[in-house]
Symmetry: D2
Subunit: 320 residues, 4 copies
């Protein structure tokens, strides 16, 4: 069978054993620890058909934010209600440096086209699996049928309705066949399989750094990705947003869960100010104040474009 790993769990037995070994051992530390995060440490959280997010390491906790804000010699924390209030204050007034005092490191397996969006966030440390040195696995992303959306006409960026069954089936066939073929030819060009066996000892193999160009953007890559809490939340606010492409949003969603375990007070403030908050323009605030005062106001009066007006009405929960 050509693609034996194309199933839900993409871990080999050896990988599973390595993870279990790490999870099985604990050592004492004087550092701040977060039991709720330790619980899932090293454990892959499945995303898409073969991807995952794993928390590999972390530094700091909610108290470290407070401690930094107070430049403390000791724990720096006070009562939970005071810490919660301080964290909320810091976040709503954009005092970002205390949140930079916590750090988290993930191991992520993701399709290359998702990796290309992700990498545009520059304030992070990245170490990617190298297809110059190594052979990529035969794993590629196939969307679930309910994700096969039609190109949106209202919104150039984004998706509309779902393709009907026959068209969806055709798309999945094309994606699957082209991926399988491109991988088979990748191996043929290198004259080597992903397990390192030579295909034909009478032939030479093309350099890996060249052969990889035959793979499609749906193939999975993996990397270690490390960032501070402030930049993690910035990443999540953009990528867990409804405008983000579904295939990166599901990674952001999985990471939101890890953030919630890691820094619950910060997460609470982030839900209020980051995820749930909205930015309203100066023109928008004029409209809001008029509406509160019970005055009528129209798009024409607002000075906004139609599109901007409808975005504001959506935010205010009003039909347009």
């Amino acid at each position: 069978m050509a693609n034996p790993k194309n199933k839900k769990s993409s871990l080999t037995d050896a990988q599973r054993a390595e993870i279990d070994a790490l999870r099985g051992a604990t050592t004492p530390t004087r550092r701040a620890t977060v039991p709720a995060l330790e619980e899932i440490l090293y454990e892959p959280l499945p995303v898409l058909d073969h991807g995952f997010v794993r928390v590999i390491d972390y530094m700091g906790d909610d108290a470290a934010v407070v401690q930094a804000a107070r430049v403390s010699y000791g724990k720096g924390t006070k009562r939970v209600s005071e810490d919660r209030g301080l964290i909320n204050y810091l976040m709503r007034h954009r005092h970002s440096t205390p949140f930079e005092m916590c750090e988290i490191k993930y191991h992520v397996k993701l399709p290359i086209f998702v990796a290309r969006q992700w990498i545009r966030h520059r304030t992070a440390n990245v170490n990617e699996y190298s297809a110059r040195y190594s052979i990529l696995d035969n794993e590629f992303y196939l969307p679930a049928p309910e994700q096969l959306a039609v190109q949106s006409v209202a919104n150039r960026q984004g998706r509309g309705d779902v393709l009907d069954g026959k068209e969806a089936a055709r798309v999945l066939d094309l994606l699957r066949e082209d991926a399988l073929r491109s991988y088979a030819h990748y191996e043929e060009m290198m004259n080597e399989r992903s397990d390192g066996t030579v295909i034909d000892s009478a032939r030479s193999g093309l350099a890996r750094e060249l052969a990889r160009m035959n793979l499609t953007l749906g193939f999975y890559t993996q990397w270690y990705w490390k960032t501070d809490l402030h930049n993690l939340l910035h990443f999540l606010s953009l990528r867990a947003d409804a405008h983000a492409q579904y295939e990166i949003r599901v990674y952001a969603d999985a990471m939101l869960e890890t953030a919630k375990r890691w820094v619950p007070l910060t997460y609470e403030a982030f839900e209020d100010h980051g995820l749930g908050g909205v930015r309203i323009s100066a023109k928008g605030m004029v409209v809001v104040k008029k509406l509160i005062a019970g005055e009528a106001v129209t798009q024409e009066q607002s000075g906004m474009s139609k599109r901007e007006w409808s975005e504001l009405m959506a935010v205010l929960g009003r039909s347009t």
Copy 2:
């Protein structure tokens, strides 16, 4: 014909006219200008089979480095020999901030697998053509036969000899056919061609952000890339290096020419200290001093690994 643009010049007539219009107009400015760079401004410098590098804008010149080092109110420059000496001094003593005072902006067309290496340089501004919004052109990279190298055995990262004629022909056939097929299916899934015409008005088209995943990593993308002179030189020192993959090295080579036109004194210092300079370790310096003193020294005595020793001998131009 399926791929009419698969020829040397990848510019359409409309693009050529737009470039000529920009090149035809000049306006007076009080800013520092560099005639040698203005000469090639906006002009695509061809790289690989369909790629290019174009200088789109620049800020500053050699004098701006000197002016910043002296925090001057005026030009800040003195005699050329003094400016040359100062620039050389700044570079060899790693005073990098004056070189950050110059900025350059490129428009680059490059294969996606090259873009994936390039983007790892984070201290730059990037705006890439979006395959979420737009349809990519049917242009992909096919290596010249003399670039079809065998995987190196001595050095896991890099290339060895060239494939023989028959094997090379087979590789090029695979790359071409898989690319053409993946593009044809890309259009079929979107139900739309790159010129915007609908293929079958009775069908819906898959969202562009999904269809793109069927393209291979050899397809060309393009971006605007802007960085400061210090970071440009850092990029070039890594990517014009013999260890860099050929397909990114040719971009670096083209950019070296633009840097030479732009900041000749800085370029001269960079040739000496950056491109041509070498770093020798503490252990290596012990060896160098012994060799100068006419003493014999062996790898075993040096405390170096065999590989490190042979790297040092190569740098010193000695056979091992």
Copy 3:
């Protein structure tokens, strides 16, 4: 007289002549130019008692934002109304990379305590006048009497009422005398004056890098500071804000004027979304929607702290 330059214009005749020389010369360029910004190029805009901001160089204009967003081969612009709409769209949807395609460079003279706040914005290039190499001028900041504010009790960060006349006079005397004395001792320790003359040829002089530690934080330093348009606007949104310290806000105010000349369409969008826009939390939006629906809502019901509630009421123009 000990401090002859302690007057409004801090330019020497030689500096004035250098600036005039730069302003007097123009050369033709193929690059985008902005006449309204060229008008004030190199010219110091006075800030505080001896400081200034001067635009030294720039790259790009409003069209460069549009051109980057469209990854264009040519100008990339369309009708002004379309470009304005696109720029507004990019800004309100946080598409920041096109704004990174423009760059500006300032020469700034500012008190050291202001420089210490300013430098915390990391995404910029800086070259500061070195007090290791050179002797700082005898120029220090003395606040205008109306700026001598009492420590605020309501808000730990910030100012309250102004000191009364007698107390203000005492403060100004202390600041002036301590600054003058510290400078005189700075010269005495170095055994050298700022013009390079030796004070006592029979004595040695302390290293400049040590003597400088006797200067107070009110002394002026200067630097070249260069950043891209996106990060400039981020800086201005924080530093032109009412919560910023007055002494840095006046620099931000002067720079707002330069931005307005440079990129009028971007500035217009920034006034609406950046300077004039507000961020409202999820809890705040619940309140806003209730108020629009004509329902009463109290701080207790809102789940907000008293302070957060009063911040929201202020934003909505309601008394608390």
Copy 4:
């Protein structure tokens, strides 16, 4: 007594107790831990007369570098000799991203003029004690007499011989008196002491954000400073260098000790390639090769300036 804390240990009893509390508690963790670093965790390492460096937290170890380079699911390490070889290889070939996978956080107390040099390293997270909110302690740096160097004539940046006893005493008197006076006036202007007591209840106090400008650059500030291992080593290679100012070099020296405890294999490679390595220019390599070949070569023939030549001869351990 005006300045009771002006003695070696700058910790108050309360601070000491807070540190002891943190050091006394351990919790189990699944993360990588480094016993040699845990040993000194939270403990201030004294620097200068009142400063310190304390490791507050860390993430990763030598194995994390190896693990990232291999993008491993598990520990990723092999035999120590192999890990050592890999780390050495990564460092000498400038593969910096694996070293970015470790992170360390310090609490540092340092004179303001040192902080101003330090902050120019931008790839770090910083949270400084705010003199807008809080009152700085009455602690300032007084150099030891053997550090009171004369301005160097050979080298504009740096120090020459030491001042003679009488001149040194005069300098120390000036520094001490000006610092004490500026602090006394700082308190007088705020009408408040550092312990929060009001001086004269009949007067108002100047805002802290203004009063601070009367302090000299020798006063101590403090911050939390966090960076990754790659950027830490870059910082140390510049600041532990002989050209760095003594007052920052002693901080770098203390941090070298912490790095040695934390990542011994990386530190070993850094000693060889970073601290002890030298960069030799293309022109310099021509000279080196000639010397090894036993040929005579002069500065004139080398194409180097006198200064560059003598730098090269110094590196080669030859008199000029």
